[in-house]
Amino acid sequence: MLETEQKPPNNRASRRDFLRGSGLAAATTVLTGRATAAIEEARAQDSEVQVLSGEIPLKLNVNGEEKATVAEPRSTLLDTLRNRLDVTGPKRVCDRASCGACTVIVEGETVYSCTTLAVSCQGKAIETIESFDTGPNGVPYAFHQNDGLMCGYCTPGFVTSCKALLDQNKNPTLEEIQRGLDGNICRCGTYGGVFKAALAAAKTMKGA
């Protein structure tokens, strides 16, 4: 019952028909000579598109350190971090961009590492919870002090989203914290403690 991604052949056929130059179609559609020329040029430089497959060497910049490993193109950033690079802060819960436990920061923005290919992260700065300040001015400490966790499985994701939020907004309101943490889910229901922790962290970070 599984489908492939292929879109229906009839679309492609009608497109070809159009390209043969039906006047009616041309009236609703614009062909740009320049784009066509560029494609011809691209075609001539066949080698410019490098196609990767199988186990490939990867270089990832994790928490300021260049790390080398080997993985297939289908390896997610999360699995590569956890299983190949022993960076196990980000957690695998839903594996479907639907919980936030795997949240990491790529080029300054939080993303779900379970739904990001590792191969596409080469050359980008990846930050995980491992790099955060664990002292009394850091976000992890605020979670500890404010009872921001129970089982703890969602916690690295929450701490990461919280840190990214506070990096961009030093003085968030409760509403802004709630919206900023919309992308993380806690099955144990520790939200009250999490929001308190975020407010406390904002306060100490400002004071620091």
Binding site: N11, I39, A42, E48, R74, G100, Y112, D182, G183, I185
Partner: protein
């Protein structure tokens, strides 16, 4: 997910070249495609990553028109001050998509071309959700399915929050294929599939969406959406309206609904009900009623008829500045 070849071209032209074979798919933010690949609903043998192609990203205003590259992240659209000021219909719809992480990842092109969320489709029963020649949707759990065009076999709803405002705003999509570029109205990206072999998208497998362009907007616009949960979910119903006004009299209207049909749903009934009228609570209410006058809900989703009616009314009243539901 299955193994695949990976290409990371550096230009739109090279991307089109790299896709040029059957079974290949463009990968942008990956928030839709990778999930379908993990569930084996999509099994491309080659993935062409387009999210880092510089010319495909960015918001550009020129001569009153606004062009948005297909690989522009939703977060960048939300942060754009011109879009916030002049295209609130687009701004609102984009700001509410998913979660902060999703808006950092997802792109406008991927949003327009994301595949339906129908759980029968997502579980391998095809777009029409058929088993042994019978519609699982019609006889099964159809609470989130269509309320228009339900005489046909396509009962899923188009999932994009962003298609509706773009269509209301008269936006065009530019597509680059192996033989050149073409520009079509955004609504022409979509079609109602007639058979299980059809797609709900008209774009060919080897065409790259490069940008959407919104023409100069003269009137006012707004989006109102209704959700079950604030985050992590799609709106159940969304209505976008773009009006031209002479004082408070509506001289032209475009009203598009999401979440109600297999394509973004243009409500000509609602448009006809409001054009020529003063924009008031009563005329907005009448337009909402007109919008659902031809709705034919399935066994479990009659509630959506009410939501669609209210969404149209509130989108119009947002334009009128009469957000009575926000007053305490």
């Amino acid at each position: 997910m299955n193994a695949f070849e990976y290409a990371g071209p550096t230009s739109p032209e090279l991307a089109v070249k790299a896709i040029g074979r059957s079974g290949a798919a463009f990968l942008s933010g990956g928030t839709d495609l990778l999930n379908r690949m993990k569930d084996y609903v999509a099994t491309p043998s080659r993935v062409v990553y387009i999210n880092d192609i510089k010319p495909l990203a960015g918001v550009h205003a020129s001569g009153g028109a606004m062009s948005i590259g297909a690989a522009t992240k939703l977060a960048a659209i939300v942060h754009d001050k011109t879009i916030e000021a002049h295209l609130p219909a687009l701004h609102r719809a984009t700001a509410e998509v998913g979660t902060p992480q999703l808006r950092h990842m997802a792109t406008i092109g991927g949003n327009l071309l994301q595949r339906p969320r129908c759980w029968y489709y997502r579980n391998g029963f095809g777009l029409l959700g058929m088993k042994d020649g019978k519609s699982l949707v019609r006889t099964g759990d159809n609470r989130y399915h269509a309320i228009f065009l339900t005489d046909g076999d396509a009962l899923f709803v188009n999932p994009s929050s962003i298609a509706a405002p773009l269509i209301a705003l008269g936006a065009e999509a530019t597509l680059l294929g192996p033989k050149g570029e073409r520009t079509i109205a955004v609504e022409k990206l979509y079609q109602v599939p007639k058979s299980a072999a059809d797609s709900e998208l008209t774009i060919a497998a080897d065409e790259l969406l490069t940008k959407v362009t919104i023409p100069r907007i003269r009137g006012k616009n707004a989006t109102y959406e209704i959700r079950q949960k604030r985050a992590y979910d799609w709106p159940i119903v969304l209505a976008s309206a773009a009006l031209e006004l002479d004082g408070s009299k509506v001289t032209s209207a475009k009203i598009i609904l999401a979440g109600v049909a297999p394509i973004p749903w243009r409500s000509e009934e609602a448009e006809a009900a409001i054009v020529g009228k003063e924009l008031t609570t009563e005329s907005a209410e009448a337009a909402g009623a007109a919008a659902v006058s031809k709705a034919k809900p399935l066994s479990m989703n009659a509630y959506k008829v009410t939501l669609a009616k209210v969404a149209v009314k509130r989108a119009l009243l947002t334009i009128a500045g009469k957000k009575y539901w926000e007053e305490a």
